[in-house]
Amino acid sequence: MKKNNFLLIVFVLFVTSINSQTFDFNVNLISDELKTDANSVIRFENYHIDMTSQREMTIKLKTAITILNKKAKNHANITLAHDKRRIVKSVKAYYYNAYGKEIKKVKKKDFKDYSASDGFSLYNDGRYLHYSYTPTTYPFTVYYEYEIKTSNTAFISGWILNGSYNQSIEKSKFEFTYPEDIKLLKSEKNFEGYTVQKTEKTGLIAYEVENVKAIESEVHSPNLGSFLPIVRLGVNKFNLEGIDGEANNWKEFGKWYYNNLIQSTLDLPQVTKDEIKKLTKGIDNPKEKAKIVYKYVQDKVRYISVQVGIGGFKPMQASAVDKLSYGDCKALTNYTATLLNAVGVEAYHALIYGGSRGKKSIDANVVSQQGNHMVLYVPIEDENLWLECTSQNTPFADGGDFTDDRDALVITPDGGVIKHTRVYDDTENLQKINASYTLNNDGSIVADVKMVSSGTQFDNHLGFESLSDKKLDKQYKEFWDNINNMNITKMNAVNNKKEGKFEESVSFTADNYGAINGDRILFPINAFNVVSYVPKRMRNRKLPIEITRGFYDVDAVEVTLPSDYKIEAIPDTVSVDTKYGTYKLTIEKISENKLKYTREFLLKAGKYPKEEYGDYRNFRKKVAKYDKSKIVLIKQ
């Protein structure tokens, strides 16, 4: 006890040593090094989380940020999430001009209180306290401090250094204090290259860093979170929305989760059990059964999100979903699980981070409440199937780029297990075009295109399924924006969910595809798949390169030439082979007025050092160039 008191005093002393009264907010004090590439500078941040018991925790932040220009304007605004179990005890802010003179003082009553309506939930009980500041001149500095009290000790926001692009840091300190009877679980990542001062004692862990340069966002760079210093924390005794929990490892955590948040929700009505048994009658293969159940769910329910209290973590009762025919990811996953169990197929809830841009994993090193999404894990013999239960269009066990290639926490009655989700090979993300077109004497074309997409490329086309004819017509005109004056005569977009393929067929005519210049017609041979994107030239690349997902396009097209013309010039066969991918364009003459071209473009997923940016760019430049290869015809 004595020891703890002593620590507390030290802490108070430390905090008072750096605060708004003593700090000089003059902007000129910021070093040039920290101004480079920076739109804002964190002058200091003191983040202190004080866990006083399993059911009580105080979060305190004192920070000062200098906003150098308009682009960092939002960092001058303050937003605090709160709800029934997360109370903002105090908050205040001061604004200072460039010379460090106070220009505005903001009290708690000046903040506006908003519903945290997230735009997709029907209802969400979260709220925001928000203050919005209108800058009159730049640069200026905002200082704010707040204190939040919460009983939700299941989440301890860790320390993410430099979480924003174009923001440098003069000083950042994070501190977590906790009672003696609590065991701390932690995960530290990406400390290399940073001088992090770490203090660890009984009941305390702290990190501190000084002078961190700003990072500029660059194309094809990895997620910030994958290379910045990050500390994630968890505790072995916690409370979630009023429910106590204890877990020292994933097995225990999973057990707790199952017993408290899942077990009681598995109440599928007998009528529905009988119905699903009837539907799967005579089928023994568990995968086939699962397919029938998945289709049943897709046909019955829709995604509606309602998040109230523990409902943010605990699924809605299966019986309620059965009656309402709607629910959020947890509710629909849970419902599907009960249906699968009813027909004797094993299925387990899995917590995961959903998102197409990055592939964020559950951090296996720190046992804690993680994830923002739930999917269903179905182990069938040697196969691991992952079912996305919120979508009515997704093929069976083919969730695409929203949940691919990452660690998820699978909850079973025996406890939790970390498992990796499906990885799509570059060549699995396939788009195949089989087409033909005729070029007429007046330069117009008549085209028939068949296109089949699968893997993550399935996702790119999926949206087309639900479009009205008018919108679909517009979509195709935008999809082939290399062809002007398009007049679509026939189109069909079919989600072949059963085979996980998106099948499209489009017929159209277009004037002026070939450009008539006197006696000649010039036309691009590759009509249906022009990848003209070239990453921009960068004079000073700083971040490594990451191609998150690869893809593979294969086109085979037959071209009929106009009767009045003969070929004057034709591009040679092209083949490019690099570590980033391959490209091949072959043109064959199959008869006097018929050509056939095949085009294959494979982009590989991968990580490369920054020095290779130019090489990668050259590869894409070549692809862009060869994709525009032209044929010249001359009047005969």
Partner: protein, 648 residues
């Protein structure tokens, strides 16, 4: 005779079988069986019936506005499910002075094995969200929804805010089979009405005896069948401006028994006077004390009227920054806005009017309805949400908006460019000024380049931006690092390499904005065999026709008239001779709406091209869509035609 009898019978029969019963709960099997909306098979859902009754009543000497809503909605497919979620805003701060929703009843109907099965909405699944201090939102979504479901809901809203009548919206993004609205008001009220949108609908006005108060109620009825869905199209201002609706505003209220004599608005002059009377508008215009010292300074610095206008505009821009909030009335008062350096639109532009007046100019505020707010066609206070300043000079009206950093005299931010502005003069009379065609947005590019034998292009590009084009450019690049601007231009312009770059007057808005750069482009031309193919306008050429859809229902809105001129001078490589050049072309649209001119000539080893696109009206009616689309087709084709060179 017999024959006629049969026909009559048939007619009667068909009538009974097709007549729908629009009482709550009387959903028919036929409605549930319907696979698609007969008049528009692409509809994901349709309102089979939409009913609204709005009326006034008096309780305890207080006027209350009551609205009954009843909806019968058909869901044809899963994409239509979203329509089965309802959210209703309820305004008010205190319990006694707030809008309230009651008598909610909602049912989903499905056809199961040929039987109609009902699922009621539970109270537990109705949510109330406190969106802000002033606003609650009631939300619910219908249970047990399936492809083919029919849902119904009805509720009542009590409102103490009897002058705030929600728009009577007739047209939605899904079709409406039967629409029935009736707005009845105590005879104490008189209204301003405004009908908007492109779909015509009939308004029937009548009066009806009110037995409770022994007066004649004023009744407005709208009864429509088969209202088509409104469809989003590119280059439209704000799609809500185009949907059919009736807007009602209480103009006056004379209720001697309640001691109420209110005159809200009847004519433009009345509205102007009314707005002027408001202390947060006209009242603020009288306050000049806090500006005294600054005015003296401005007076000594600027002497000519023109200098005064420029000076006042820049002064107010610097003094008061916009907090992002629109408004016709000053929020905290001009003095406070000045002191804090922050204000809403009215704070800023009313200060500008005051300063201009103090400098001896004939300045007045101009009431504006922003693009997202719609078009005020009828005298209405609610029609305005924005104010700018006008100075009457010998050369005409000069409009100013100090809320936008890069605005210029008569070059306003796009948000304020919407139809007409209403000038409120000192004597309370009004005048109108067309906002859309104040100035032409202007871009002129001079592109000079030479081509080497191996297809390398080396050149210089100089682009001058004027008026709205300069505002747009400055807004986009005003606070961007030069390196980033260069990268962006390189990427946008077909991956050229910029070797030397300069922008003149990016910040100095009163001087012409000019962007100059030297560039190189490897393989900038195509060399095939012994021929060289040059796309003479390079990256400046319009490569895509923005008008893709076959036909159009709403006008094309460009914001302002515009002009794009390109002058190209090409030096052809030695050892090559010109084999063919594109031909000259000139197109003029009817009624001088727009034109395209393309002229090319050769002079020795040089080729010179002038290309001009001009759109003279900011808004082009849908009648001319085909012509406009065709002109752009020709622009794309002509600007991409090639020069062919042959090796000597």
């Amino acid at each position: 005779m017999k024959k006629i009898g049969v026909i009559l019978l048939l007619l009667m029969f068909s009538q009974t079988s097709f007549a729908q019963d629009y009482k709550f709960g009387k959903v028919s099997k036929q409605e549930l069986e319907e696979q698609f909306y007969p008049l528009d098979s692409s509809a994901n859902a349709a309102y089979l019936y939409k009913k609204r009754r709005t009326y006034t009543t008096i309780t305890n000497g207080q006027i209350r506005l009551i609205t009954d809503v009843y909806v019968r909605l058909k869901i044809y497919n899963k994409e239509g499910f979203d329509w089965a979620t309802e959210s209703q805003n309820l305004y008010g701060t205190s319990n006694s002075n707030s809008e309230k929703l009651s008598n909610l009843k909602a049912v989903t109907y499905n056809l199961e094995n040929g039987k109609i099965v009902e699922t009621k909405l539970d109270k537990d699944n109705v949510f109330t969200e406190q969106a802000s201090k002033y606003k609650k939102v009631k939300k619910f979504t219908m249970p047990n929804l399936k492809k083919g479901s029919v849902v119904e809901w009805k509720y009542k809203i009590y409102s103490p805010f009897f002058t705030m009548i929600d728009d009577v919206v007739v047209q939605y993004k899904i079709p409406v089979k039967k629409y029935d609205a009736q707005i009845s008001f105590l005879s104490y009220f008189s209204f301003n009405k405004r009908q908007k949108g492109y779909y015509p609908f009939k308004i029937i006005e009548s009066s009806k005896r009110n037995i409770d108060f022994h007066t004649q109620d004023k009744v407005i009825k709208i009864s429509e069948k088969n209202v088509p869905a409104i469809i989003q199209e590119p280059y439209v201002n704000n799609i809500n401006n185009y949907s059919a609706a009736l807007q009602l505003e209480v103009a006056s209220l004379t209720a001697p028994t309640l001691g109420l004599f209110e005159n809200y608005a009847t004519s433009w002059d009345e509205i102007a006077k009314d707005i002027f009377k408001n202390t947060s508008f006209g009242g603020e215009l009288k306050k000049t004390g806090h500006l005294k010292d600054d005015i003296i300074l401005l007076k000594s610095k600027f002497t000519t009227p023109n200098a005064k206008i420029f000076g006042a505009l820049e002064y107010v821009k610097k003094k008061i920054k916009w907090n992002g909030i629109y408004g016709l009335y000053s929020y905290n008062g001009l003095r406070k806005a000045y002191k804090e350096g922050v204000g809403n639109i009215a704070d800023i532009n009313l200060t500008l009017v005051v300063v201009l007046k103090e400098l001896g100019l004939n300045a007045s505020p101009v009431l504006v309805s922003t693009r997202n707010h719609g078009i005020p066609l009828y005298p209405t206070k609610r029609g305005f949400n924005y104010v700018i300043a006008n100075v009457k000079t010998a050369e005409g009206n000069i409009l100013l908006d100090a809320s936008e950093k890069y605005s210029l005299p008569n070059v306003l931010p796009l948000r304020a460019i919407n139809w007409k502005g209403t000038i409120v003069k000192k004597d309370g009379t009004v005048g109108f000024v067309n906002l859309a065609s104040l100035t032409t947005s202007f871009e002129e590019t001079n592109l000079n380049y030479k081509i080497t034998n191996d297809g390398l292009i080396e050149g210089m590009n100089r682009t001058k931006y004027k008026n709205y084009a300069s505002l747009k450019y400055r807004k986009k690049y005003g606070s961007t690092k030069e390196d980033d601007i260069i990268s962006e231009i390189e990427e946008k312009n077909d991956d050229i390499e910029i070797v030397n770059f300069r922008i003149s007057n990016l910040k100095d808005i009163f001087k012409p904005l000019v962007e100059i750069y030297k560039f190189e482009k490897e393989e900038g031309v195509e060399i095939i065999g012994d021929k060289m193919y040059i796309n003479p306008l390079l990256f400046i050429a319009t490569s895509e026709n923005p008008f893709k859809i076959a036909s159009r229902e709403y006008p094309v809105d460009f914001g302002t008239p515009w002009e794009e001129k390109v002058n190209v001078l090409i030096q052809i490589p030695e050892g090559y001779t010109i084999e063919s050049l594109p031909e000259n072309l000139g197109i003029e649209m009817t009624e001088n709406l727009g034109l395209f001119i393309y002229m090319i000539k050769k002079q020795g080893n040089q080729v010179q091209i002038t290309s001009l696109i001009k759109i003279n009206n900011s808004i082009i009616s849908a009648n001319y869509y085909q012509e406009l689309k065709k002109m752009f087709k020709q622009i794309v084709s002509k600007q991409n035609e090639k020069i062919i060179l042959t090796k000597i």
